[in-house]
Amino acid sequence: MDKFNVELAATIGRVKLKNPVLVAAGTFGYGEEYAKYVDLNKLGGLIAKTITLKPRKGNPPPRLTETPAGLLNSIGLENSGIDSFIEKNLPFLHNLKTALIVSIAGENEEDYLRLADRLGKEKCIHALEVNVSCPNVNSGSKMIGEEPELVFSLTRRLKEVSGLPFFIKLSAQIGRMVELSQAAREAGAEAVSLINSIPAMAIDVDKMCPKLGNVVGGLSGPAIRAIAVKIVWEVHSKVDIPIIGMGGIMSLEDALEFVLAGASAVAVGTANFIDPQVSLKIIDELEHYLYEKKIRSFSELVGKLKTGG
């Protein structure tokens, strides 16, 4: 066979990635924590842990418990707030030679707008991921990510505030994902990130109490993968918007499931905790896979699922 170069580059609307493998929000800190273990510049991109306007203490411990093939977390968006992020974390992230996506969350629309306004002025940020779906924040009111009208209105207003591309990270509202993604698309979002961890809980029957300090949390890891793949496939079939697929990706095969189902890029989350190098391994193996399959460009693979014979 002729030697040919495989093109790994991926496109999410206006955002160009050198390869389609990102690390998911909240699972890679602000990059620096992992810099010693991973060559960050080889990643397709880094989605920094969700930041909020003011510092958040996060939820009471215990914050984690393992379930069969899953991780249940109730971190509660612990972070030091945007000022600290800009002062302490951004200088490090600024020097990376990979796409930087910053995840933001607020208690209301105004919070999101102020975050986008401030971050929009930072030259090194390629896009903002709008976390409207953290299962670990209880603000009393309905989550924006659960209501198509709220998603639409927020995205619209964000676009008025900043020219940065917005990826809307939706929660797994099984059955409403198409509607929600449609709202994001109509309001002009660059992409949707699917999926966030799924609301879940676990009980210690000996102590007769919840295993998490916050009672409920979000489930991630291989346990949610098949659900995530189905959501990606469904949204890709019905809505014309780029998708960043995630949920339980541990290997190239897992990543390819998302891509074939329609994801333009993927994000690795929980797997980073088990093997910090896993994203780089997936990138290497992807290159090899494309070569073996004689596919010149990664983008040809997106949504190439064969159904109905």
Partner: protein
């Protein structure tokens, strides 16, 4: 009262290590040794290694193990088979490779001005204390003493007695909850009885590792007797590198990460209520 001297937290490495031995030391308990490069950062008692025990996805996460000895080129851990992770690890054989991240976290700092070092361990909490006792013996002056208090449920569960007993400088006392060996009762009660008989506790230093309830009592005693104390805390460890914020415990100044600021903390910095 003595104070903590320095925060010791060298950067960990993530490498594949070769198992040198994995021996059953008593039913359900193993001692595993593996080789590390000579260039590997020197491990401190109280630090841990974060090991990927199987191919997954069940169990999913790595498992943290307290280091029970370090010599250049070699690390040892002692563990009890308590769940899926440790069960899989118990099958590791000489020559197998393990994915290991370490030495992680902050260990005990040896209080050099102390004249009396008190080590209190409950159950598997004895494991890092063997390493600590060895380090203290090397580091401190001849006129200082080491007293070790260990607690177990029953005589059958006693571990590492010989390791401590073989050094005549170390005073070892053991408590069993059912009284089948040594003092009948909790190690914290044994320790309290000991303190009651002491006239002065100046230049004392406490190092403790074990169940939360034991640490709570030891911390309270250390406040009552005004002794500087360090406690090794436990929480589920996920990333082990400080990124996920899943391993926090409540401190007097907010949440603290067991994998970074700990596992060993100044007992004063922990919110015990």
């Amino acid at each position: 009262m003595l104070h903590q001297q320095k925060i010791f937290s060298p950067a960990a490495e993530n490498i594949r290590v070769k198992v040198l031995s994995n021996r059953c030391i008593k039913p359900g308990h193993f001692r595993l040794a593996f080789r590390v490069p000579v260039s590997f950062p020197e491990a401190v008692p109280g630090q841990f290694v974060h090991i990927k025990v199987g191919e997954g996805p069940v169990p999913l996460l790595r498992r943290p193990f307290s280091i029970s000895n370090y010599t250049p080129g070699k690390i040892q851990i002692i563990y009890a088979v308590v769940g899926q992770g440790t069960k899989i690890l118990s099958h590791a054989k000489r020559g197998d490779y393990l994915d290991m991240l370490g030495p992680a976290g902050k260990g005990f700092c040896i209080c050099e001005e102390a004249k009396t070092h008190l080590l209190i361990g409950g159950g598997m909490g004895a494991a890092p204390l063997v390493f600590l006792a060895r380090k203290i013996l090397k580091k401190v002056k001849k006129d200082s003493s080491i007293s070790v208090f260990l607690g177990f449920k029953t005589k059958q569960e006693i571990i590492l007695k010989e390791e401590f007993a073989k050094n005549s400088i170390i005073g070892l006392q053991i408590a069993t909850e059912d009284g089948s060996f040594g003092y009948r009762g909790l190690v914290s009660e044994l320790f309290e009885d000991y303190l009651k008989k002491i006239s002065s506790t100046s230049k004392f230093s406490i190092y403790a590792c074990g169940p939360l309830q034991m640490l709570k009592t030891v911390a309270r005693l250390s406040f009552d007797y005004d002794i500087f104390s360090q406690v090794s805390m436990e929480e589920i460890i996920c990333c082990g590198v400080g990124a996920c914020r899943g391993c926090v415990i409540k401190g007097t100044a907010g949440y603290m990460r067991v994998c970074q600021e700990g596992p060993v903390f100044d007992a004063k910095k922990i919110s015990w209520s």
